[in-house]
């Protein structure tokens, strides 16, 4: 069914200039303000940032999960295998939601229907999208639960969500999300509500499934440890924009945006010799009712210059795939802090 040519370099999803607003009583919130990224087949892109930076809204807009009104996609495009998906529900005769893109959520407890058995809930997308009979769909649901490494799958499929633990529910959610063999799995903070031992199990499961099915994963998280563990590429978001993007090693070892550096310094690291000091990022993210004219990070940035509050910096490419959106990388910048990575010779 899903017989896209297995060209490894083909871009599966390409998002350009996406902007999303919400009308509220307090005014219009500009939640996402021009986001560009792409996802390759079989790869994992992690979107990192604090609460309220627009990570979830970005992916929800692709799934058609933004309530309109009050939400509004003001600009941009998202092309899945070359077909526009923004504002549409069906592409190439297949429904996007659930069929082309699967999604799992942070809180499995509230994302499942408490009055349906787990098996019925997993069977539902197969009946809807694939036209399976109930019997066939339920048998497939049991197979999917086994794939998600749920013991005694046949018995578990007949149980209700309240009979499952948090980790088991997240496995059931994953089984449901991959039921129709989506080409992309969006995982929105999939392990935030779970304990570390269960988190490790779920992350292993996601990696195994990715190897088996070749699906791409968009992982939304604020935990840099999870990013280091899972991601091929990382996009760091702040105040509705991507401020740094690159391969995982680039972003971790050659951080080029002050916000990325701030996030890293605010976390305890694992260096035994160093009495590492936690450096919090002072202040809080800007109000997106009236987003700042310049760079959103100016008020909290230790290296802020005059121009930062007036104008947004350009994306400066340090390598072909690694960019930072910061004035410090401009050749005219007098300040080149040692902690940040700069293009050689710049």
């Amino acid at each position: 069914m899903n017989s896209a040519p297995a060209n490894s370099k083909e871009l599966l999803l390409e998002v350009k200039d996406l902007a999303v607003e919400f009308d509220t009583y307090g005014g219009t919130v500009q939640a996402v303000r021009g986001v560009n990224f792409s996802v390759e087949e079989g790869k994992t892109l992690a979107i990192v940032g604090e609460s309220g930076c627009g990570k979830s809204v970005t992916v929800q807009s692709m799934m058609g999960l933004i309530p309109m009104p009050p939400g509004r996609i003001t600009s941009g495009s998202a092309r899945l295998k070359g077909h526009e998906i923004l504002g549409r529900t069906i592409v190439n005769g297949k429904e996007i939601r659930g069929s082309e893109i699967g999604m799992i959520f942070q809180d499995p407890m509230t994302s499942l229907n408490p009055t349906m058995t787990i098996g019925d809930q997993i069977a539902e997308p197969l009946q809807v999208h694939r036209g399976y009979s109930y019997k066939k769909a339920f048998a497939e649901a049991i197979r999917l639960l086994e794939m998600s490494k749920i013991p005694e799958a046949a018995k578990r499929a007949r149980q209700y969500p309240f009979e499952f633990s948090g980790g088991m529910l997240q496995r059931a959610m994953i089984a449901m999300a991959i039921a129709c063999k989506p080409s992309i799995l969006i995982a929105d903070e999939p392990t935030t509500a779970l304990d570390v031992t269960i988190q490790a199990q779920i992350l292993d499961l996601l990696q195994d499934l990715q190897k088996e099915t070749g699906m791409a994963i968009i992982l939304i998280t604020h935990d840099l440890g999870v990013v280091a563990r899972m991601a091929d590429e990382v996009a760091v978001m702040y105040a509705g924009k991507i401020v740094e993007h690159g391969m995982v090693d680039d972003v971790f070892y050659r951080s080029a945006h002050p916000y990325t550096l701030g996030l890293k310094d605010a976390m305890p690291n694992n260096d035994p010799s160093l009495q590492h000091e936690l450096k919090p990022i002072e202040g809080s993210p800007p109000d997106l009712f009236s987003p700042p004219q310049g760079c959103g990070y100016t008020a909290r940035c230790p290296y802020a210059m005059q121009i930062c509050s007036k104008q947004q910096g350009e994306n400066t490419y340090l390598t072909e795939h690694h960019f930072s959106r910061c004035w410090l990388h401009n050749s005219a910048s007098p300040n080149k802090p040692d902690q940040l990575y700069f293009k050689e010779g710049a």
Partner: protein
């Protein structure tokens, strides 16, 4: 250093009726020295919050003793006990949203303890509240506002001011940062560190984030299903765990270091923490333990000190 707090074989069961009991905390002994920070880690359901609350008398003890400065605290607190002890022992709660009364102003929330205990008069209370709001990084004029006007990090600061205004000696911090963003976590941790220094506080820091506990605390105690499995100096436990459960817990904690993460094997273990209603016989970790032996399924290992290192471990591998 003398021990400020001494917990001896503390046990807390909750009766569920029908002859069923939740074995939340069983035979836990732990000492906390003066001006020390002890981190208590474990998965959810391991009984760490119950332990913290029972130590403070928020739950009645089923058995065991809690000694504070050598004084044995009552098994079941009466109102007069709370009144007397609340000035010495305080708590900071996990959820900064549900732990503040939405119908009280910040001034009332922070000043309430002072009003109940010392009652120095409205103007003094107002002064002290203003002072404490400043100390935790808020503005004195926030006093007349309500909790909904503040962000999570600010609310947690309000919770800290409320706990600190009586200038207690001992504070239980029950997951004070797990509901906060990374950048804000560091702000709250540093604030607690500063207050600890300036007030000479002793802290029991309950958390599930191991790297944060290692950073914050002098000693670390690891709890599993109601009992302690390992106690030792934080750095030593973190870099050289002895108990298989501690090893698993630390191995499962992803580090913000992609090269390290790629190089280390997955240590995910199967299974989940068993129900504290039907506690397994023998070692409680036996059914998930990668190094399980026959003896583990029958005999409960005791928490005993190791020979060569300053460490207590409850595991048959070392007995």
């Amino acid at each position: 250093m003398s021990n400020l707090l001494e917990v001896v074989e503390l046990t807390k069961f909750f009766d569920m009726g029908r002859n069923q009991r939740v074995h939340a905390v069983e035979d836990v002994s732990l000492t906390v020295a003066e001006k020390e920070i002890v981190g208590l880690v474990g998965e959810s359901g391991s009984g760490k919050s119950t332990f913290g609350k029972t130590v403070l008398g928020l739950h009645d003890k089923t058995s065991g003793q809690v000694k504070f400065r050598g004084e044995v605290l009552p098994q079941k607190y009466q109102p007069k006990d709370y009144r007397r002890l609340a000035t010495n022992m305080q708590m900071i709660f996990q959820d900064p949203y549900s732990s503040l009364n939405p119908r009280m102003t910040i001034g009332e929330i922070v000043g309430e303890g002072l009003k109940l205990h010392e009652n120095p008069g409205a103007s003094v209370i107002k002064e002290r509240v203003a002072l404490w709001l400043e100390k935790v990084g808020l503005q004195p004029d926030h006093m007349s506002r309500y909790p909904h006007e503040f962000s999570g990090g600010q609310r947690q600061r309000i919770g800290i001011a409320r706990a600190m205004i009586l200038e207690p000696e001992f504070v239980v911090c029950d997951e004070p940062i797990s509901a906060l963003d990374v950048s804000v976590q560091a702000q709250v941790i540093n604030l607690l560190g500063e207050l600890k220094e300036s007030m000479g506080l002793t802290l029991l820091f309950i958390a599930h984030d191991l790297s944060m506990v290692r950073y914050v605390s002098d000693r670390m105690a690891v709890m599993y299903l109601g009992s302690l499995v390992e106690v030792g100096k934080s750095d030593e436990v973190y870099f050289d765990p002895k108990h298989p459960y501690t090893e698993v817990l630390i191995g499962s904690n992803p580090e913000p270091d992609p090269k390290l993460e790629r190089s280390r094997p997955s240590t995910a273990i199967q299974g989940e923490i068993p129900s504290p209603v039907n506690v397994p016989a023998g070692c409680r970790f036996a059914n998930r333990c990668p190094k399980v032996m026959d003896v583990c399924k029958n005999v409960t290992p005791q928490l005993i000190p190791l020979k060569d290192v300053d460490r207590q471990v409850a595991c048959h591998l070392y007995q």
